[in-house]
Symmetry: C2
């Protein structure tokens, strides 16, 4: 593994771990009012597109990161739909 | 531009646009209780690492996406620090 791969895997680890506190917080508090449904819906589409890009470029850090992100971000969307109440200021 | 580049730019666009509703929502409502500070702090570090990875791989979609993400995610962290109150269930 060269230094570029190493940085790729560090970057992958940070982004994969990054969404876990948000997923844990919405699961634990069941409070999702300030979490944007639009953001996580778009990010799921983004994760699918990035996964496809990673496959086409044969880039493993991109593939692994975005497959994991797809599931973590989906869990946040599920919590948002389950616990959220529509609020005039929310999108 | 081949189809791989096209998918890369679509993926880039989705992730860049994805965080805007969340940034807009916290800026507009000034309500950040359910937004995880840990998530956005880690994601900023992730954006820096991905940018470096993109530079080393000479991969423009990765570089552009993560430079934009750095600024959008930083704006969310600034709002969180400015408007947030510490809550026992928050991390």
């Amino acid at each position: 593994m060269d230094s570029t791969d190493l940085i790729g895997y560090i970057a992958m680890g940070l982004v994969m771990v990054g969404f876990l506190p948000q997923a844990w917080q919405v699961w634990k508090t069941k409070s999702v009012e300030d979490v944007s449904l639009s953001t996580y819906s778009i990010l799921i589409c983004g994760a699918i597109a990035w996964t496809l890009y990673g496959v086409l470029k044969n880039d493993l850090p991109i593939i692994i990161t975005n497959v994991v992100l797809f599931f973590v971000q989906s869990s946040i969307v599920i919590c948002k739909l389950k616990y959220g109440k529509k609020h005039p200021n929310q999108d």
